[in-house]
């Protein structure tokens, strides 16, 4: 039977099994379909009831003298008339004071993308009482702030100087005392503030009339808001605030139960042993489980989404969320959002399966899952903070990047480069999580609770000596090094200490050596992997060295030619080019040899150790030759963090990987890589070299793109073919020779 149909059988059985569990159905169906609407509508009604009460309650205003009491009572009593007048105001009514804009009766309800939370609700109550004050009772106290603080009064009014009048041009100070920690104090103050601002406006109006001035006299600048967001964008904005977080939470919480049940649960019930007795590779078993956990996670997110959509639609929630603004829900972005959710769900299932594989019982697994949930929620919340943009480190922070990307999609922003980052980084994490889960699942200590301690999985002496790292180890290494590299490089780029001088390049070199050379070497030593075979530290045949020379001398020409062609449909990123020019400026005083060493040799050596050494041998141990070449090519391309150079770096990565696999040695690839880097650096930094190239017909255009003359391209292509042929020859020689 084919592997595919076996995995197919396994996952279908697991799905049947898990769906027959009442707990799954409860968590997946009942919660979204019954609980949400009830909770949402219930809380909405609770909010409304509370708001209604707050609007009508009687509030106490403290004043410190009888004079103030009489004055305040008079303007409260006459406030009704002023409110009537308010409604008939000309559009040019002056802004009464430095009060926030919400005071202005003409201010439209600001249709911001606020969620209907309690704070928002209170804000609306304040706006309401400002226009329509609740009953107010005035008491006289000696110390107004103390009375408000002690809760004897909700708000306080202190009149400094004479009471305000229309005559003359003087201004009277009225102090409104608020305890902003108390919602009732804030509401009472808002009501008093509304009354005072209407008084202010009336007096101003009288003064202007007396002086026979138009209302524009006190409004030299008339500010009008023009709100341009389309209803569709508003809908996207509202969805973007809540939906990504809900999707993340629901995906992970949906996946938790099946992940525990299918690993720790199986072991607790004793079915795991029965299962591994069957002649099925562990990888297929975990693949089947993993499909089910992913599916249930996504299904649960989808059901929740539907339920929330339905509740908003049917429950009148839309108007609450949008505060009355016209809103159109961008439903057509939903399929894309669900698509983006796939790698996320895969990543969660892999992580959860890996974590649960450690647990001996259901209860233990639940304890292990908690930290994962917390760890997932932190980036999710960071990503959902308003204003977080899809740029910089956010691009590769797991979970956070998906949250922000989802929001951007809802807003109709579609940035292919950002999508590439988010999807590729999430896929790398997902692949690593799955590989680790598969690796753990096959461990004896994990299969049988009584077969020794789990801790032995990590201790050095219990690692079985191996020739090469496993695919899981290689993918895990990629998943650790990628974000680390990204963050450290950003930190160096942002740090003032490294700006504008060569220390920047020392720091980058240190990172390269640490992450790409030292880390894989040290890991290999710790996990008892044979260095010479893991990193292909073997002598190479003359044919392989010749292949390296041919490739190293030709790839730079072909890469330049490709970039020139690519320029036609994907123009170079100008910011990137500018940045490169700035960097070049920093090193112009360095000796050429030092430049070549730091910018060509160190990166080439470290990257070869990492990509064509540790990662390639690890990936190769789990899959075929071409598959591993492709994976290493993609990993190498993505590592360079540039859509423009993606194709060339991928091709280079695949070329060098081919050379390593065919020659069984890392050294020729290292030479070719050093040559490629060095030649490019020399053409860019040494004026003589540059001039010679121009004389031979190279055209250096804008944006750092250079067009090689046809002769160069043909020679480069010929050299490349010769290099490939020599590499194949090296492979044939090796196969023909008796195994050493």
């Amino acid at each position: 039977m084919s592997r595919f149909s076996r995995i197919n059988t396994i996952w279908r059985k697991e799905l049947t099994d898990i769906l027959r569990d009442r707990r799954t159905v409860l968590a997946m169906v009942l919660v979204p379909i019954v609980l949400y609407p009830v909770l949402m509508l219930g809380s909405l009604q609770a909010f409304e009831a509370q708001a209604g009460r707050l609007r009508q309650e009687k509030y106490v205003v403290a004043v410190n003298s009888e004079v103030t009491q009489r004055w305040l009572k008079r303007i409260i009593d006459t406030d009704g008339a002023r409110r009537m007048m308010d409604q008939g105001l000309p559009a040019t009514a002056p802004a009464p004071s430095s009060r926030p804009a919400a005071d202005d009766p003409e201010e439209p309800a600001s249709p911001t993308a606020e969620t209907g939370d309690a704070g928002d609700q209170q804000e609306r109550v304040r706006t309401d009482v400002r226009h329509k004050p609740p009953p107010l009772e005035i008491i006289i106290v000696r110390d107004v702030p103390r009375a408000v603080n002690a809760g004897h009064a909700h708000t306080g009014v202190i009149l400094n100087g004479p009471s305000p009048i229309a005559d003359g041009g003087a201004s009277s100070e009225v102090l409104v005392v608020t305890d902003q920690a108390e919602i009732r104090s804030e509401i009472a103050s808002a009501a008093v503030g509304g009354i005072l601002s209407r008084l202010n406006y009336q007096l101003l109006w009288q003064r202007l009339q007396r002086e026979q001035l138009p209302s524009t006299f006190v409004e030299p600048v008339k500010i009008t808001d023009q709100r341009i967001a389309t209803p569709r964008k508003m809908g996207g904005s509202i969805l973007g605030q809540i939906v990504p977080l809900i999707l993340i939470v629901m995906t992970i919480s949906g996946a938790v139960y099946p992940a525990i049940d299918l690993t720790a649960g199986e072991r607790e019930r004793g079915t795991l042993e029965t299962l591994v007795v069957a002649p099925v590779p562990t990888m297929d078993l975990i693949a089947g489980k993993f499909i089910v956990v992913t599916l249930i996670g996504m299904l649960s997110a989808f059901l929740n989404l539907l339920s929330i959509g339905g509740t908003i639609w049917l429950g009148g929630f839309g108007s609450l969320l949008s505060r009355g603004a016209a809103v159109q829900i961008p439903l057509d972005s939903l399929p894309l959002v669900l698509l983006i959710l796939i790698p996320l769900a895969v990543m969660f299932s892999g992580t959860l399966l890996a974590v649960c594989s450690f647990a001996r019982s259901f209860k233990e697994a639940q304890n292990y899952v908690m930290p994962v949930l917390v760890a997932a929620m932190i980036p999710a919340v960071v990503g959902s903070l308003p204003g977080t943009r899809l740029e910089g480190p956010i691009l590769v922070i797991p979970v956070a990047n998906i949250v922000v990307l989802t929001r951007e999609l809802f807003l109709g922003r579609f940035d292919p480069q950002a999508i590439l980052w988010v999807m590729s980084s999430t896929s790398v994490y997902a692949a690593a999580a799955v590989a680790v889960a598969a690796k753990l699942f096959g461990q004896e200590a994990v299969l049988f609770a009584d077969a020794g301690s789990i801790r032995t999985v990590f201790q050095r002496r219990f690692f079985k000596p191996a020739r090469v790292p496993s695919t899981a180890q290689a993918l895990l290494m990629l998943a650790v090094v990628y974000p680390l590299n990204f963050f450290i490089q950003r930190a160096i780029g942002d740090s003032q200490a490294f700006q504008g001088n060569v220390r920047f390049f020392y720091a980058l070199s240190a990172v390269l050596v640490g992450l790409f050379a030292f880390l894989p070497l040290a890991t290999a030593v710790y996990t008892r992997i044979q260095i010479s075979s893991a990193f292909s530290f073997r002598s190479a045949s003359p044919a392989a060295w010749l292949a390296a020379l041919c490739l190293g001398a030709s790839t730079w020409i072909l890469a330049s030619a490709w970039l020139a062609v690519q320029q036609m449909w994907l123009p170079m990123d100008e910011a990137f080019v500018e940045q490169m020019e700035v960097l070049m400026g920093w090193i112009k005083d360095m000796p050429v040899l030092a430049i070549v060493f730091f910018m060509a040799v160190v990166p080439a050596v470290c990257e070869e150790l990492f990509f064509r050494g540790y990662a390639l041998s690890g990936v190769r141990s789990g899959m075929g030759r071409w598959g591993s070449i492709l994976i290493i090519g993609i990993a190498f391309g993505v590592y360079h963090q540039s859509v423009h150079r993606l194709i060339t770096t991928m091709a280079l990565g695949m070329l060098f990987a081919t050379l390593v696999l065919q020659s069984r040695s890392l050294w020729p690839a290292m030479l070719a890589h050093v040559m490629h880097n060095s030649i490019l650096i020399l053409t860019a930094t040494v004026p003589d070299v540059h001039r010679t190239l121009v004389e031979t017909g190279w055209v250096y255009g804008a944006a750092g793109v250079s067009v090689p003359p046809t002769g160069f391209v043909l020679a480069g292509a010929a050299l490349l073919c010769l290099g490939l042929a020599m590499s194949a020859l090296a492979a044939r020689e090796r196969r023909a020779a008796p195994a050493a």
């Binding site: 039977m1 076996r6 059988t9 396994i10 059985k13 049947t16 099994d17 027959r20 569990d21 199986e266 019930r269 004793g270 079915t271 795991l272 042993e273 029965t274 591994v276 007795v277 069957a278 002649p279 099925v280 590779p281 004896e444 299969l447 049988f448 077969a451 020794g452 301690s453 801790r455 032995t456 201790q459 002496r461 219990f462």
Partner: protein, 250 residues
Amino acid sequence: MIEADGLTKIYPNPDGSEKAAANGVSFRVEIGEVYGLLGPNGAGKTTTLRMLSGLLRPTAGRVLIDGRDVTHEPEFIKRKIGYLTANTGLYSRLTPRELLEYFAVLYDMPRAAAARRIAELVEWLGMREFLNLRCGALSTGQKQRTSIARALLADPPILILDEPTLGLDVLSNRIILSFIRDQANSGKAILLSTHALDEIETMCRRMGLIHNGRLIAEGELEELRRQTGLTRLSEIFLHLVGADEPVLAN
């Protein structure tokens, strides 16, 4: 035919010490034979059986099934063996029929052949009345019969049965033991691990006694009787594990 040759399994403890769950265990099970493996709890029986069936990798020694090494060809060997685990792990939310159909796929059985074989096993083991109930609702005996059917599904030439009668009533016990005897008569090599000494006495010609991970005695019951001068297997057993002194002193 099963050949265990110097099987040793050493578990590392986290504190650095080591525990030998099995230590140099060697024996052979011939075709058509029911070989008994007995020993107290924690003696190393289950560890030995897991190594025989390729679930655990021996620290030293090797297992040959029909002359082929389990460590090198685990999936080939798993097809040859029907392994009944000690704790009848069944998917409680599947019915016996679904469970057997699932394992038939895992064993690459063609659909028609699987259906025939399942019908046959249902008949032999008297499973008809509970075939379509969920496994979680079955009695211990019914579960055990389902597990045996699962182990025999692919008609493997070798059976490894870990405590097949544990916790069963007399009736289920008899069904299962007579079934095991029939299987041996039809030419299977059967390894029976159990606490129940009377079962070993009636079912097995040859047997091995495991204690503290070591095979302390092996051979036919008559040989063991001659060696120890005792007649009943329980007395022989206690004598061999060194627990008889206080009994005799009384």
